[in-house]
Symmetry: C2
Subunit: 334 residues, 2 copies
């Protein structure tokens, strides 16, 4: 079985985005309506949005189950306030739940959290509990920068985040560290902000005692870990210069990397330097890169092809990457 | 000959930092003295600071000439205002000039620019001109985020920067894109902010027409290009999805990567995916990582060893990386 731990509902029916626009408009004009009831999406629309997209790719590429969450760029935690964010998160999460109910063999849910800049993360606990306990979700996406590119909240290793972490541990779910869109013109979302956030989070973990404080906490760093595997020597050296213990001891019981790296040499360095036990298969499809690589004739995000092409990878390692590690990190996966 | 295009004067005599502290103190207390004349450093002190450090490593590792600039973390463009920054930049650049005059075979200068958040970059032109025309410097370090981690100035591709770029072209010098320290607690300087800035700048270039506007402009992206080579497939795909031309056409006539990658697999992916003509040898010594890798018994930042170990690299490619490309990019190198 092949589990893809990183998929977003990027193909949701356009009614969803139209609703979001009404919600955003209503922030300026309270007379504009944005009742949740005004969003109507039929089961057939959901089926249609997936059959020719994620489901088609699952079949073609031979993957089985996707851990599916709302569109990351769409989370937009920087828009409005905590109420805006809660309303929008509930709608997005409910839609993921419908997807998972329609296709229980193909999708399992991970939730968007109702974060908002400057608002304590513990504010997200009720929605996390609802998604895990009532909707059967197996994880969440945690935005390390709810300001959308201004990085105005405390680092992920600050006690500011601990109440949410303690709830994650209690519910036995990991978080994928995943920013949303950027409202800072310096940062292209998928080409800079995403990778920067991955790199930033790793370095925050490296310099902190977070995992001493909460040893059961688990994070997946997406997009192949940002810059981290490429600079693994730099991080080993920085940890040593900072008189920390080894990266293995410091954080590899708690931090995992996905395989969203879209070319063969990049994938090889990931598989070479990061311990196999810390790598989870993922494609992020349909996401950051949607087209076919003219150099290979295959989709850039068909990451399974790169892994399958690594001749030196042992079968048991491939099994861990494709399934075993995901089951270990996402304990609720049956 | 082996040219290291990325070295900072991290070992400057402590009097320099003491002066800087007086300057910072005087921002709050104008009665505190911070006259430039109050900084006294002898030639012997300079020799001592280099003989047991950068010069020792040059000899041991077999490199010849370092393009040498003030300590990057020390630039601190976010401290004080444009006057503070100009005064501090002149002092740091003058010290680099003394280094280069004492050891003309070993060092050639690249300058710190007197940037300040919110202040138009053209304000840096007089100091750039002074350093190139009077002090014989061959390049400059350009900070894409003078705010130190708040990213409050426009992207490098905004016309805000163009007057400085035009002067760079007129003077025939490239810039290394290099941030300074971070005053945002989210970003560790050498472990996150540096790499993020490299990645961010590349993506800004990719999405812009900067090099159509100023075809002679040249940038070196340090630290192996941040996350870029590792995610080369992602960038090729994003460029394609954005209906841009190839990366080669878009920016590889203008953008170069250094080799500050501190482990063998990372170096190999850099040399594999980035065209050889776009790679410049560098070590960043003595910089981000100062210690010896227990896995190899050699310094992490002894990057020449990794390059020498790549068996498939042709001799002519090695020559380009070690010397030819640097002479092409830094036209003033005799």
């Amino acid at each position: 079985m092949i589990i893809d731990c990183h998929g977003h509902y990027t193909t949701a029916p356009r009614e969803l985005q139209a609703y979001r626009q009404r919600q955003i408009d209503s922030l300026k004009d309270p007379s504009a309506s944005c009742q949740a009831e005004s969003l109507e999406i039929s089961d057939d629309q959901i089926r249609e949005s997936l059959e020719s997209a994620q489901l088609k790719f699952q079949r073609e590429r031979g993957t089985d189950l996707t851990i599916f969450s709302p569109r990351a760029v769409g989370m937009g935690h920087h828009i409005g306030n905590a109420t805006t964010s809660l309303q929008w998160s509930r709608i997005c999460n409910n839609l993921i739940h419908r997807v998972c109910s329609l296709y229980p063999e193909n999708f399992v849910g991970a939730c968007q959290l109702p974060q908002s800049p400057g608002v304590p993360p513990e504010n997200c606990i009720p929605e996390l509990e609802r998604c895990v306990s009532e909707l059967g979700f197996v994880g969440c996406n945690l935005n390390p920068d709810p300001s959308g590119g201004h990085w105005s909240d405390p680092p992920l290793t600050d006690r500011w985040w601990y109440p949410l972490y303690e709830k994650m541990v209690e519910l036995n779910v990991p978080a994928m560290v995943h920013v949303s869109g950027s409202c800072n013109p310096n940062f292209h979302a998928t080409g800079a902000h995403y990778l920067n956030a991955d790199t930033t989070a790793f370095m925050q973990f490296l310099a902190s005692d977070l995992f001493k404080d909460i040893p059961q906490l688990k994070f997946v760093i997406p997009h192949g870990g940002g810059a981290v595997p490429y600079h693994w020597g730099r991080y080993r050296g920085i940890a040593q210069d900072l008189k920390r213990t080894s990266l293995q001891e410091l954080l590899l019981h708690n931090v995992y990397f996905d395989t969203c790296v879209y070319h063969q040499p990049g994938m090889e360095v990931l598989l070479k330097v990061i311990p196999i036990d810390n790598i989870l298969f993922a494609s992020e499809m349909i996401g950051a890169v949607k087209s076919i690589d003219p150099e290979t004739g295959h989709y850039f995000d068909d990451t399974k092809r790169y892994i399958d092409s690594v001749s030196w990878l042992r079968d048991e390692d491939r099994c861990k990457i494709y399934e075993g590690n995901a089951r270990k990190v996402y304990s609720h996966l049956r």
